[in-house]
């Protein structure tokens, strides 16, 4: 397993939409290096023939609360109303004319 550099931390921070000053970058680099060193322990395990587990009930899938053994979870496609617009927008930091407000995305000059 690889380790992580300050450059790597800056790259990952950008992917995660976070920003750090130089001091924070150093700090996270140090800490993540230590944690990743510890995680390197997993290399002791021979896993070539081991299937990955993403979910603990992979073969146990249910539809509408009854066990069917089917491969997908589905529920009836029932049309119903969503939450009232004003209730949803009530939590928005900025709302305008029934929409969420964000900084300008498209440059007006183009």
């Amino acid at each position: 397993m690889a380790t992580i550099t300050t450059e790597g931390v800056r790259h990952v921070a950008n992917l995660a939409r976070l920003e750090f000053n130089d001091e924070e970058t150093e700090h996270f680099t140090e800490q993540l290096t230590r944690i990743l060193d510890y995680i390197g322990k997993l290399n002791e395990l021979e896993t070539d023939d081991v299937p990955p587990t993403s979910h603990i009930h992979p073969n146990q899938v249910f539809i509408m609360g009854s066990q069917t053994g089917a491969a997908h979870v589905a529920k009836p496609d029932v049309v119903k109303s969503s939450y009232p617009r004003e209730e949803v927008l009530a939590n928005a930091p900025e709302a305008e004319e029934g929409y969420f407000g964000v900084p300008r995305v498209v440059d007006r000059s183009h």
């Binding site: 996270f28 395990l45 603990i56 900025e94």
Partner: protein, 492 residues
Amino acid sequence: MLYELTAHALHEKLKNREITAVELVESVYARIDAVEPHVKGYLTLTKDLALEQADRADIGFQQGDEMPPLAGIPIAIKDVICTKGVRTTCASKILETFVPPYDATVMTKLHEQGMVMVGKTNMDEFAMGSSTENSAYQITHNPWDLDAIPGGSSGGSAAVVSADTAICSLGSDTGGSIRQPAALCGVVGMKPTYGRVSRYGLVAFASSLDQIGPFTKDVTDCALLLNAICGSDTMDATSVGVPVPDFTQSLINDVKGLKIGVPKEYFTSALDAEIADRVHTATAVLEGLGATVEEVSLPHTEYAIATYYIIAPAEASANLARYDGVRYGYRNGNPEDLITMYKRTRSEGFGEEVKRRIMLGTFALSAGYQDAYYKKAQKARTLIKSDFDAAFEKVDVIATPTSPTPAFKIGERTADPLQMYLSDVMTTPASHAGLPGISVPCGFVESGLPVGLQLLGAPFAEEKVLRVAYTFEQNTEHHRQKPQIGTDGVVS
């Protein structure tokens, strides 16, 4: 005092009209007035709402209606569970103003019972932590030693039950966040099988691990709360449709014929010697009551923390992408462009541990590293789960310590994240396998801090776990001990 009693004892008094639900709320709030300033378990108190709900329960009792067993019982809710109209912060600045427009499924179920919500409890921000010190708002104190942490991440929910400022509570457990604080605060805490309880309205941390569960003063109350919250839900495709039994039927004071496995890998040098002693004493009690106790091996136990700190942060990094300052919560209002707004909002809104885990998870999922980290961890997870599958071929229930140490001092581990992560060494293995697990009080160390016994079952074998826990409780007195919190904040 009413606030000291269990839900099932209070139900008898409510049913017999010896007390009213409103009196009960007043009693709990009197206790809150006396000790909450020292414990600081709550982020939000909802007394007016509680009195309204209690009033409704009282009308039912007065009319002689057949009332559910938890009607009128005051419950505290971890602030990671959405409560319609009541602020839900996840102990994060980024959700400081968030008021959910809907109830989590568990809240709907508690309302159907006629339960009374006392307030929302403190936690590690977004449930990431083992001490509740990662809350953006306050430090919660362990009622047994106000200088010690209550455990985490559901530290508030554990502390308020221990301090009698709630009769019971709900928490969430991703890698031990119910069981560990229950052990450290000397109460009963249970994580049901993954899929038993709907996660709809539980703010997501690590979706393949998160599960809601109860904190209670005894195992009977635990069974009652499980009855109330379990069951499949069309709003959560990972909730499982296996039938939900009446868990009170598992409250059988008898373990004859049951096999209890004690995994040797849990008794390492990292385990506090006094805790090892209390757990061995506990398994000896069960053996004396007719259970067969035998050693089992879970050889991949030592890889559980490394596996957890890949899988949980990876899932968290995806789940927490939604906090972007657009639809809810905090926003840095200055930036002129969208990307800078996202970055400043998230960097200012999230605390350090949350950022650390987002970084770790984003790294583990990033191009070039996904196979080496995330996939490797998923394979290790398979090995850990296979250990349990093999053990449950031989035994009914596995008994271990819940936490390697008793509650540590506030501030003791905050400088070293890895040291803090190792607090979860006894609880994360079962999380990977999705198993049901309970922590019950099994004694005290010399310094007076409580010790928890963790009992684990095969998936959906909650009934066996409850039966062993109940038998242990009925034949010991540990759960009757209460912390003595003086109104001056001194534990006498």
